[in-house]
């Protein structure tokens, strides 16, 4: 898989098949490798789990369209003040601004469209590249006394 010119100082790099069954193990592996997991338990178990799971799911389902020949790259940097995760698929990208708010009354009964919304709610930063096939998630650690995390 081609690397991005914007380098991350990765502590962990996983290349995953476009198989949603691999998501749970990959996310659990990342959370288990976090050096400060005991201090940040809830922010990892809820916020980071949701962020990673939804980003990987979107990459496999909508980016790579489950194509077994395509891979998803997951890069993680455990920094002093935050965890940065980047997920890259081999699809054609999409416009994240085109995804409607799933909480409005007209969208509440729709079965899809909540993944990106949850990522934005539970991570401190969600940034897409111009093509839309790579998302970078940032979860700040020890952020402003947010004991339970939740609202990033």
């Amino acid at each position: 898989m081609a690397t991005d010119p914007h380098q991350m100082s990765d502590d962990l790099v996983l290349e995953l098949p476009s198989d949603v069954r691999s998501i749970e193990h990959a996310v659990q592996y990342v959370i288990g490798r976090c050096p400060r997991c005991s201090e940040e338990a809830r922010r990892l178990n809820l916020n980071l789990r949701v962020g990673l799971t939804e980003a990987l799911s979107n990459a496999m389902l909508y980016g790579n369209h489950r194509d077994p020949s395509k891979r998803v790259l997951l890069e993680i940097a455990f920094l002093q003040e935050c965890i940065e995760a980047r997920v890259t698929d081999q699809g054609n990208g999409f416009d994240p601004a085109s995804v409607p708010d799933p909480t409005t009354p007209e969208n509440l009964m729709r079965p899809c469209g909540r993944g990106l919304f949850l990522m934005r709610k539970l991570m401190d930063e969600v940034k897409y590249n111009d093509l839309g096939n790579q998302v970078t998630l940032v979860l700040k650690l020890e952020a402003g006394g947010l004991e339970g995390g939740v609202q990033a």
Partner: protein, 110 residues
């Protein structure tokens, strides 16, 4: 990770073990739809032993609720832990479902 389907009087009770995620949501959907097809109308899904529900899992619950309502039935949810309840509140799905603290409370008066 799996599902257990039980009958409690008129109510079909589904227990979700582990997670409800993109990898197993179709299995839950099919099990509930099979019961709906056979005439069951009252459903409780119990999450007492569920650690995580992703957006696909939430979507399946929305889809099932809609189908059950269309048949004149009701889907109730029970035993969401604090994290799961947070996901329902963030997505405002707590306004769509009747959510009980326990399975027994969900079954009361159903």
């Amino acid at each position: 990770m799996g599902f257990r389907v039980l009958q409690n009087g008129e109510v079909t009770l589904v227990e979700v073990e582990g997670q409800l995620i993109v990898g197993n949501r179709q299995e839950l959907k099919q099990q509930v739809l099979d019961r709906l097809e056979k005439g069951d109308r009252k459903f409780v899904i119990d999450f007492a032993n569920t650690g995580y529900i992703d957006s696909s899992g939430l979507g399946v619950l929305v889809s099932l609720s809609k189908k059950i309502r269309e048949q004149g039935g009701e889907l109730r949810l029970a035993s969401l832990n604090e994290d799961l309840r947070t996901l329902f509140e963030l997505t405002k799905l707590d306004t769509l479902f009747r959510i009980a603290d326990t399975k027994d409370k969900a079954l009361e008066g159903f």
